[in-house]
């Protein structure tokens, strides 16, 4: 299906002229915003001070994730559905000017008795490693793992987990999952070894493969579960967002339903680094991002996890918390954010970092505001408001 055509920026390097050095086109940050009612692209200027809004794309579609392929800088995949139609994946090879639907979106294998699982929506998209162009991975709701070898045109179930009785048990039921369906997320490929993979399930724990996805095994030691439940039961584990540090792929961070964690491989035991967060804020939340070049630096956006779990900014005073020492201590970063009566929710995919120096941080609220910081959280500015409920924010660097 050809979707709407949207005006987009095309920047080409100028041809070198005789006697003059070639003029390099400055690279710019592109922010990809997926919402409950469509998707938007925000094109930044070189200084990340002004943003040109391109959208909506797929107005009315529920877009759970929008990701640019860093391997070619132009292929975009969007995980989409409408409230009343089945799920699909849209694909653009010209950075959002034209879109085409996947020929075979992620779908579970058909069961002989017709009682097999049904993909409600694709939730997470991860491009494969540079050594495997065209490879993408997708996580779905309910929990399923899929792979495409042709740039997102056709998708197939990947690995044993979709039908493995033990994994299906660990995935729990719809009643065990998040309000809009249990999810497979945080698909991570080790940049040193494409056969080394991780993913998270809400619920169902963190899992690791060292054989290219042929087999996976739980990686949940040290992770806590809701009081009164047995952490030995994988079903009870609810990692919200898992990140691998690009500068040290042996280090992972995790924002969990029950705290903030760090794991330094080869250890298999997560350490709860959220215990050093202020007690009146706590370490509950959905999202987490890591610094692209400093494995000791990471940021979270705490949510209220008390009483009935409002999952809003504690006290109505939003703040990002950052660590510079691997989670031993945290700094409150709220300059520029509302000082009171701001009851924000930020979902697990709705925070991202760019790769600039200094690092830009971005997050989107369920109330449709997009905020960014050009200085690693020291100062925040709202760069878009009045958008639909924001589900995911990603960044890319483009020419």
């Amino acid at each position: 299906m050809a979707s709407k055509t949207r005006k987009a920026v095309t920047r080409t390097a100028r041809k070198p002229t005789a006697g003059k050095a070639p003029v390099k086109t400055p690279r710019r940050v592109l922010v990809l915003v997926a919402t409950r009612k469509g998707a938007w692209l925000l094109h930044g200027d070189a200084a990340r001070r002004s943003w040109r809004v391109d959208g909506p794309h797929f107005l009315g579609h529920i877009v759970h994730h929008l990701v640019l392929d860093p391997r070619d800088g132009r292929t975009l995949l969007a995980a989409a559905k409408t409230g009343h139609l089945g799920p699909t994946v849209f694909r653009s090879t010209d950075r959002g000017r034209n879109w085409k639907e996947a020929a075979r979106p992620p779908a579970f294998a058909k069961a002989a008795d017709g009682k097999g699982r049904v993909v409600d929506h694709t939730f997470w998209l991860t491009p494969g490693p540079a050594s495997e162009p065209g490879v993408w991975y997708a996580g779905t709701s309910p929990q399923g793992l899929f792979r495409s070898d042709d740039g997102g045109v056709t998708w197939s179930p990947f690995s044993h987990i979709n039908d493995d009785p033990k994994y299906v048990e660990w995935m729990g039921t719809v009643q065990d999952g998040t309000p809009d369906g249990p999810k497979l997320h945080s698909i991570i490929i080790d940049p040193r070894d494409p056969k080394h993979m991780y993913f998270g399930m809400s619920g169902g724990g963190v899992h690791e493969s060292v054989d290219g996805g042929k087999t996976f095994a739980p990686l949940v030691d040290g992770m806590q579960v809701v009081e009164g439940f047995d952490p030995a039961v994988i079903t009870f584990h609810d990692p919200h967002c898992v990140r691998l540090c690009p500068s040290n792929p042996d280090r992972l961070y995790q924002q969990n339903h029950c705290g903030i964690y760090r794991l330094d491989r080869p250890s298999r035991t997560w350490a709860r680094i959220g215990k050093s967060m202020p007690k009146n804020v706590g370490d509950i939340g959905f999202t987490m991002v890591v610094h692209p070049r400093d494995a000791d630096a990471a940021w979270v956006l705490p949510m209220d996890g008390q009483t009935v779990w409002p999952r809003t900014s504690p006290g109505g005073k939003p703040a990002v918390y950052g660590t510079r020492n691997g989670g031993r201590s945290w700094q409150r970063l709220d300059a520029g954010l509302p000082k009171e009566q701001a009851w924000w929710t930020i979902k697990r995919q709705a925070m991202a970092a760019d790769a600039r120096d200094s690092v830009g941080l971005y997050f989107g609220t369920t109330s449709g505001e997009l905020w960014m910081s050009r200085d690693e959280g020291q100062r925040w500015n709202c760069i878009a408001r009045n958008l639909p409920e924001i589900y995911a924010v990603e960044t890319a660097e483009v020419a």
Binding site: G83, H84, G86, E101, A107, A109
Partner: protein, 85 residues
């Protein structure tokens, strides 16, 4: 037969009425997918069940099974049961 396409699916067909053939509802949907790739999966899931909120009517009667027989002169209405905000 003539098939009325609801507005959420017209991005596939670019028009409201299309022609399709088949002896059953399932066969007609397969023929629609042949003409408009991807349209069937939006209405029928991977377990061959009609998705919630998608309704089919022929001559004023609702059809609930893909095996329902159709005649060449039937008129199939596909309806999107919209709800929620």
């Amino acid at each position: 037969m003539k098939v009325l396409i609801p507005s959420p699916l017209r991005s596939y067909t670019q028009r409201s009425w299309v022609a399709a053939t088949g002896a059953t509802l399932g066969e007609v949907l397969v023929d629609l997918d042949r003409q408009f790739p991807g349209i069937r999966f939006r209405m029928v899931n991977e377990q061959e069940a009609i998705r919630p909120h998608v309704r089919f009517f022929v001559n004023g009667e609702a059809l609930f099974r893909l095996s329902e027989a159709l005649r060449p002169d039937d008129e199939l209405l596909i309806v999107q049961a919209l709800s929620g905000g």
